[in-house]
Structures are given as C-alpha cells and as structure tokens.
C-alpha cells in the first residue's frame, strides 16, 4: 500500500512501509548514545554542519547539565541505501535506572534498537536492563561497541561480554566510534538491512500509540505518536480510546528534528499530533488514538502505568506560597507524566503535597526544576517508599507515608516493596559491595562473571534500603566502577516497626519512619543525634526523643542559648544592627514551626541517615 508524506525539503516522495525503520538507541549512561544520535543526524543530513550543536536532542538545560536524557525525543531521517530511499525514525531514550518506563514506551514504538556499549567500560547494569526491556517489547537488537578510538578500548573483549550477557553474537557486533564517525555509516546500513520494517497494517482501522507527550506554551499538548494501523490525517476527528475524549487534529507532523507539518502520518510512521489539547492530564501516555468515524476495535497493548517508587512531602516554606507551589507542580506535570502530586495535610507541617517519583534521580530533577524555574522555598520530608498494611480484619491498605500507618493494634502484618537488584562491578570490590548489601538486608541470589575481571551480583533487596543513598555509597566503595539497576518484584512481609520522633514532647509526623526491627534502636539513636545537630538552639530547652511503640529508645536535649544580645546600640549602629536583626528573622522564616520549635529543612532530611555517612 502506498502512503504519501512530505519531506522536509518539500519533495513529495512515495514510499511503502517496507522503507520505514523505527529504531532506538539504548545504552548505559555515557556509553555514547547521544553522540551516536548526533552522528546519525549529521550523516542523514538532518542537521547541517552549521546547525550542529553537540548532542542536539538533549533539550532541557538540566538534561545537558547532568548529561542525561530525561525526555524521549523522536526524529525522522532521510537515508538512501543501495539506490532506495528509506525513512528512519530515531527515538532517543533515557539511560538512568529511574526511567525504565520512559525507555519501555520509546521501545514499544520501535521494531529495532542499536545497543551501544562503551569499549572501555564494557557491559554495565543499564546495558543489561535496557536489553531486557527491548526483548520484552519484541525489539530486534543490533550490537555496537563504541569508543573504539580510545586507547583503552577493548572491542573484542566487550563483544564477548555482550554475547555472554545479551546473546548478540560477537562477530555480529559493529565496532564504531560515534565521536569520530567510524563505522556509523555501516551501522546505519545495518539498520536498514537487518532491522525489520513495521508491518503493513495500513488497511486496518487507525490505531496510533502515544509513546510520549510534551506541553508547549503556545501550541498546547504535543503527542508523540507511532502509527501502528491505518493513518492519521490533519483536520480529522480522532478519539483517545483510553479517556474516551475526542479532538480534531489541528496539526500533524514529524521532527526533522524541527517540527515539520505534514498532511498525513501513515502506518509505521512516527511523528506528532497537535489537537488543541491544553492539559497534559488529558493525554495518557500509552493511550491509543483512533479515528472517531471508523474506530479500531481494540486499543494497542503493552504499557504499564509508570510505577512510582519514591514519595516525599513538599511544603511551602511560607504558608502563603501554597498556591504558588501548586501552580509550580502543575507546570512541572505538564512535561512529566510520571511525577504526581496530591494535596496533603500534616499536623506538623501544615498544608503541602504528597509527591510521587519514579526514583531518587527523578525526585532530584523535580527539586532542581522547582528551585530553578519557580524560585520557591520548600521544606521537604525525607523520601519514603510505600508499604502494604494487612489489618487484622483482613484488609490490605497501601500507605506511602509512615503517618498513615493505622494503630499498631490493628495491624496484622506489614509488607515492604522488594526489588531485584543487579550490580555489575569489578571483582576487586566484590567483598565491600557484599558487605554493603548485607548491611542493607539484601539477599544474594546469584553471582555471574561476565568476563575475567567483572562480575554481576544479583540481589533481592528491600527498596527502602536502597532508595536513598545506596547508589552513591556503591559508587564510592567501587571507585566509581560499579553500576546498578533494579526492578520492582513485589511487596513482602517484613519485621517492620514504626518509629516516632518527639520534638519538645510532641510527636512530629513528618519525622516518623518505618524501620526494620533489627536496626530500629541504633537508627533511632543516630537520628536523634543528627536532629540535635541540625535543629538550632532556642530560647528554651528542647528534648528530642525517638520512640517505638511508646518505648523511648533514644533521647537527647538541645540546650537553650544563654546569650544573644548586642552590647552597644547607638546612633551609628542602628542601620547595621537592623539589617542583622532582619536577617535573624528571615532565618527563622525559612524553617517550619512545630509548636514553638523552628525546624530547618536539613532536619527533615536527616532522618535518612546511613551508618556510612556518620
């Protein structure tokens, strides 16, 4: 079947689905995914030398700063191979452990993927994780060993690792240098020659998958789509099968990489849909778009809604900023469908929001964006995970904050989330890493040598123990070499208790936490010490206590300050002194009041201690 589309140079070219290739590049962080994407864009003429800016697809300033990709981006490229013209749709993906979901969405829109591995680093945790995701989504893999230009490159060894861990045959791996461009043309040819085209379902009722979305200030929500069946045409009325809502397509187009309007997107094609949708919330990523007049019978399958693993409560530093904070969150969700926030009221901290994140990196990114783009002071509680509470009368409640725990007398069983944790490291750090894992209640499932010096450790780990700083500590003790990936496996029973923190005899719900009984007392003592150091002295003495089930397990006291007065205040001193007093007052404002005690932000985060950071 023939389809029409407009090329960005204005030429009309007829093509069949056979000439389309939808592919992604997957890799561990810094293995060269984005550089390869740049080279491919150059090679296919999508970007002229003049327009070239390294790593073109990384849109946000933040992404560029951190060297990671947060959003998936899609580009349509021209390519000619053996006299025939091809349309290559390249979808960029994030590489960090927190963003499995975004990777899987991008992969579901593809038939193939290039798996890139750094020739000096070898197979790493996200190499494996991403490869698994590709296989789960029926995506064909082409292996590419990158950075062969570097003196430390060991392409043959790495190709063997790839064969051992992923199954791609070592003599079928391409050796490339994305930076220099070596082998990239051959790789592109392999994309055409080896990756399957999208199946031709052009005569079926229209079904297009929304694999990502983005909210633009002027144009509203932009849906990134992959057309699986039928076709989309501008001005047509479409239905979103999940939400049931209908819209008219106001603009249809492709990314070349600039947004380039077209009249039609056919089967197998990738592009964008603008349909006068103002709210990102109206678009569910994973939803199917179909023709309202002749709709498809069934929606496309394969997506799971993003799973939030980490929760934290955000409160405005100043109560009057509550609407400002809400507006900021609303704006942030415009471009991040996996971040959620819901109004939450804490007896201690007042009105705020319970926020859900894919992981710690996701949370940090939101924090930074909040600060950078919205300039609001927030007080934030330490990130927690959710728990399942089995009550004595047989109900199961999911809680994502310790303060939601029902009365202990009503609780039959507490369950915490477990993950399958995979760590890839050099063999000389195995001992230290195993000690770390053990101290975090991880259970070793498997060890596997992927090469002479490198090993995979597979653990079953309580998410609560690794969600905060496990990754950083791991990096530290392995001198940066270890990498990790985790995948949620389920909630399981654990010997957990709730620890309350009392400040000035009042229990502060925002500081309470759920801990494993074995480490509870030690944890409590460390926590109280940290609190004592982070809460400033007041005009009165402040007792700090940690309690488990009514029993005090740790106690310290913050002494009152005894002197805080300026000796001389005469005419010439007034200006300076008033400035200082105002600063003193401003300092108080940045803290949260719990009764008459002012508690700074650091105190809330201090409950996340780890023995290593003492």
């Amino acid at each position: 079947m023939l389809q029409y589309f407009f090329w960005h140079l204005g030429r009309i070219i007829l093509m069949s689905t056979e000439q389309i290739r939808n592919f992604s590049i997957i890799a561990h962080i810094d293995h060269g995914k984005s550089t390869l994407a740049d080279r491919i864009l150059e090679l296919t003429g999508a970007v002229s030398e003049r327009e070239k800016k390294d790593q073109i697809l990384d849109d946000m300033e933040l992404e560029r700063e951190r060297g990671i990709t947060i959003k998936a981006s899609a580009v349509t490229l021209n390519y000619e191979h053996e006299g025939r013209k091809y349309m290559l749709n390249l979808i960029d993906t994030p590489g960090h452990v927190d963003f499995h979901y975004e990777v899987s969405r991008a992969l579901a829109a593809c038939e193939g993927a290039i798996l890139v591995v750094d020739a000096t680093q070898g197979v790493q945790a996200q190499t494996v994780a991403n490869a698994h995701l590709a296989v789960e989504n029926n995506v064909e893999l082409i292996g590419a060993v990158n950075k062969i230009d570097l003196p430390a490159a060991q392409p043959m060894t790495v190709a063997e690792e790839i064969e051992h861990t992923i199954g791609i045959r070592k003599n079928e791996c391409f050796h490339i240098s994305a930076k220099k461009g070596t082998g990239v043309r051959e790789l592109l040819e392999a994309v055409v020659a080896l990756l399957p085209p999208p199946p031709d379902r052009s005569s079926e009722p229209t079904a297009a998958l929304i694999f990502d979305s983005h909210c633009d200030d002027y144009r509203g929500v932009i849906c990134y789509v992959r057309v699986f069946a039928g076709r989309l045409r501008v001005k047509e009325r479409i239905r979103f099968m999940g939400s049931g809502r209908c819209h008219s397509i106001t603009e249809l187009g492709k990314f070349t990489p600039k947004m380039t309007p077209v009249d039609e997107l056919g089967t197998g094609e990738v592009g964008y849909v603008i349909a006068n949708i103002r709210e990102l919330a109206d678009v569910t990523v994973g939803d199917t778009i179909t023709d309202d007049a002749e709709p498809a019978q069934k929606a496309l399958t394969g997506y799971k809604p993003p799973m939030q693993m980490v929760f934290s409560d955000f409160y405005p530093g100043n109560n009057t900023d509550y609407p400002k904070l809400r507006a900021a969150f609303e704006k942030l969700t415009l471009n991040d469908a996996s971040f959620s926030f819901a109004p939450h009221n804490s007896p201690a901290l007042g009105f705020g929001f319970r926020c859900g994140f894919l992981g710690l990196l996701h949370m940090e990114i939101i924090q930074e964006r909040l600060e950078r783009e919205h300039d609001i002071d927030v007080v934030q509680t330490a990130p927690t995970v959710s728990y399942d509470v089995l009550t004595k009368d047989g109900m199961t409640i999911r809680i994502d904050s310790p303060s939601e725990l029902p009365d202990i007398t009503k609780v039959a069983e507490l369950r915490e989330p477990f993950v399958r944790l995979e760590i890839i490291t050099t063999s000389d750090s195995i001992g230290d890493i195993m000690k770390l894992a053990e101290s975090r209640r991880c259970k070793l499932l498997k060890t596997d040598y992927i090469s002479g010096m490198r090993v995979t450790l597979e653990y079953k780990a309580p998410l609560a123990e690794i969600v905060y700083d496990f990754y950083n500590v791991l990096k530290g003790i392995s001198h940066g070499y270890a990498t990790m990936d985790y995948e949620f496996v389920g909630f399981e029973k654990s010997d957990l208790v709730k620890m309350d923190i009392l400040v000035n005899k009042v229990a502060v719900d925002a500081l309470s936490l759920i801990v494993h009984r074995s480490t509870a007392e030690a944890r409590g003592r460390r926590l109280i010490t940290r609190l004592r150091k982070s809460i400033p002295r007041h005009q009165f003495e402040i007792p700090l206590q940690a309690a488990i089930g009514g029993k005090i397990v740790a106690r310290e006291t913050i002494k009152a300050f005894r002197k805080d007065v300026t000796a001389k205040l005469y005419g010439g001193d007034v200006t300076r002194k008033m400035k200082l007093l105002k600063k003193q007052k401003e300092g108080k404002k940045r803290m949260k009041s719990i009764g008459s005690v002012q508690i700074p932000q650091e105190a809330f985060m201090s409950i996340l201690d780890s023995a290593e950071s003492e």
């Binding site: 005009q539 002197k563 005419g571």
Partner: protein, 384 residues
C-alpha cells in the same frame, strides 16, 4: 549644595554628636574607625568639622551634645577645646554636654578647661580595674590612671561622671568581674556602661581567637556575669535603664536616651551618622574624602537611607525595647503613627506567653530574663 546662607538641615530632636576619628594607639578589641593621630594634620580636620557644623540649623533645638570617637582626648588640648567651644557656641540651650576621655590622656588643667567650656558630663574609658586585663586589651594606661582621672574630674567640678567597663574578657571569672564592678562602684560615679567583650572582624583579638591563642569566656559564665552586673550595680544604687547602661537617680545619659527613643540627631565628622527628618545618613569615614567634601562645599555623606513608615516603626520598637522601660504606647503612637500592640501583636503575644515580655499599662518591655537574649526577641520586631 551646602554653605553659609543656603538651606540647612533642621534638627527637630535633641542631639549633636561630634566624632573624633583619632586615637594614640588602637586597642586590640576595637573595630571602630579610627586612625593613629600621629599621622595626621588634625588642625585641618578640626576646621572641616567646625565648617560642617554650619550646615545644620542648630541653636536652641539642640539639648544634648556628645563628643566621642576614637579618643577625643588624643587631640591636642587646643583642638579639643576648640571643638568644645564651637559646639557650645552654636548650641546655647544644651542641657547635657558629654566628652569621652581616656585615663592617662587627661589632666587637671584640661578637665577644668572642659568644665568652663561648657562640658558638664565626662565619660571615662576605664574598661577594667585589673592591670592584666587592661594590658590584654591594649589600653595603654594603668588602673591608677582611672582613679586619678575620676578624682581630677571631681576636683574640676564634674558632678556627672560615667565609666565604661568590659566583661567576659578571656581569663576572667565571675569573681574577677565582681571585683571590677565593686571597684567601679566604689568610685561613686553617677553612671556606668558595662559591655560584654565582642570579637569583631579585623581586630587583633578576633585574630587571636581564630588562631586559638585565646579562649572566649563560655556562654554560661558570660550570662552569669551579665546578671551579676545588674544585681551588683543595683546594690550600689546604679539602676539599669538600658541593656548595657546603669545610672544613679536621674543621671541617665540623655544624649543616648534620644537614640533609644529614636529621636533626631546630627553627626559631625568622618564616619558620623545623622538621623534627620526620617533619613539616616553617614559621612564618609575617610578623613581626606571627608575634609575635601566639606571644604569644597559638597556633601560628605557616603551612605543614606530614608525610612518608610513601617521601617521607622520597627526601628522605634527595637530601640525602645533596649530600654528597661520599653515601649511607651502613647509615645510610640505619637512618634510613628502606629499602635504598637496591633503592629506587633504576634511577637508580643508569643513573648508574653513565654514570660519574656511584660505589659504594664502603657508600657511594653522586656523582662529581666529576656535581657540576656534580647536579640532573639528583637528580631521579631525588626520587620513586619
């Protein structure tokens, strides 16, 4: 801009302050701007300062005069007396005229001349009655000099004498401080100012502290010393009327009371501050810049700020609360236009509850317990 015949600044309040930026040597704890007198042609500056006096409409409005510094007594007698006479001449209705002097820098002759010149109050920089402490502070005189200065002042006819004291000097203990208080009280002076030693940036003392060569008195002892000051001086008939100031009967320093009432004043000399018609301005501290500005008829002001209604109200509250008598609600309303009980409702309520503020009729004031930690309370009045 300024000069004879053109418009002058009215002082609708009380005070005129004259700043003498010279010292013979710099004390180790001092962060005030002052320069070694030996390096300067003081005559030129004195002329400039007298010229600056012309810029203000002085006259009968001025009720208090204060010559401070630096060390006014480091000037030559001739220069000091000239400043005294020029100031006195322009302020015929002055009721209190203070000059700060250092022990060892005055003699009977000078003191008599000051008396006849119109000075009726002397503030003597005693600091300590323990020689080791005086040496530690770098004061350059003996304990004997202090007693001598007081005696000479009495002989010269001064019936209003104040001593400055410093407590919490490294090495001091509660007992040694008690000794100092009693020694000072024994001199039967009318007024004592007692200040806790502070370690200011840029001072020799601060450097020594940072290098751990000296150890500051611990907080609890320092607080105990402060409390002892209030009690010991009360026993000697000197009642506390401001955080650091104690006076017998009605011998409070009226010039300073004007500051704490947030009244107006003009400041003459390099680095001196004026507060007139709601604007506070500070002269350039640089002696050459100051002198040049004054002699060329341009403004010598380096910094100034004009305060809005709320700011003025906050400053008034903070200054008022330094006084033991605190805020007088009627006076406050008259001066700022605001009702203090409403404007500061929240902190007043909080501190009333905590027993750190008390209200008695039209007075709102810090309690005894609050004095030592006054800043932690005053900051809540610094901004609304």
């Amino acid at each position: 801009m300024f000069g004879k015949g053109s418009s002058k600044c009215r002082i609708d309040g009380h005070g005129l302050y004259v700043h003498v930026p010279f010292c013979r040597t710099k004390c180790r704890y001092c962060s005030f701007y002052s320069v070694p007198i030996a390096e300067y042609d003081t005559g030129v500056l004195v002329d400039a300062m007298i010229a600056e006096m012309e810029r203000y409409e002085l006259g009968r409005n001025v009720k208090t005069l204060y010559i401070g510094g630096g060390s006014p007594s480091s000037l030559t007698h001739e220069h000091l007396l000239r400043l005294v006479s020029e100031a006195a001449r322009r302020c015929p209705a002055v009721e209190e005229f203070t000059v700060e002097v250092n022990p060892g820098q005055v003699d009977k002759g000078l003191l008599c001349q000051l008396q006849t010149g119109g000075v009726n109050r002397l503030s003597i920089g005693a600091q300590s009655f323990i020689q080791l402490e005086l040496d530690f502070l770098g004061r350059g005189h003996t304990v004997g000099c202090i007693r001598e200065a007081v005696q000479q002042a009495r002989t010269a006819g001064f019936d209003n004498i104040s001593l400055d004291l410093i407590f919490a000097i490294p090495g001091a203990e509660l007992d040694s401080w008690k000794y100092n208080l009693q020694a000072a009280a024994a001199l039967a002076v009318e007024h004592i100012s007692a200040y806790s030693l502070t370690y200011e940036d840029g001072t020799a003392l601060k450097r020594d502290l940072a290098a751990s060569l000296i150890e500051a008195v611990d907080e609890d002892t320092e607080r105990a010393m402060y409390e002892l000051t209030i009690d010991e001086l009360a026993k000697a008939g000197l009642d506390q009327y401001e955080i650091s100031n104690f006076a017998r009967g009605s011998f409070e320093c009226r010039h300073n009371l004007n500051y704490w009432a947030n009244g107006s004043y003009a400041g003459i000399g390099p680095g001196a501050t004026s507060y007139l018609q709601g604007t506070r301005s500070t002269n350039s501290a640089d002696i050459s810049k100051y002198t040049e500005a004054v002699t060329s008829g341009t403004s010598a002001v380096a910094e100034s700020e004009t305060l809005g209604g709320f700011e003025r109200a906050c400053e008034t509250a903070v200054l008022n609360l330094r006084r033991r008598c605190g805020i007088d609600l009627v006076e406050f309303k008259r001066r700022t236009g605001f009702d203090a009980m409403q404007l500061f409702a929240e902190p007043i309520r909080t501190y009333l509850k905590r027993g750190l503020i008390k209200k008695d009729g039209r007075r709102v004031f810090l309690t005894r317990e609050a004095l030592g930690i006054a800043d932690s309370i005053l900051c809540d009045f610094a901004i609304v």
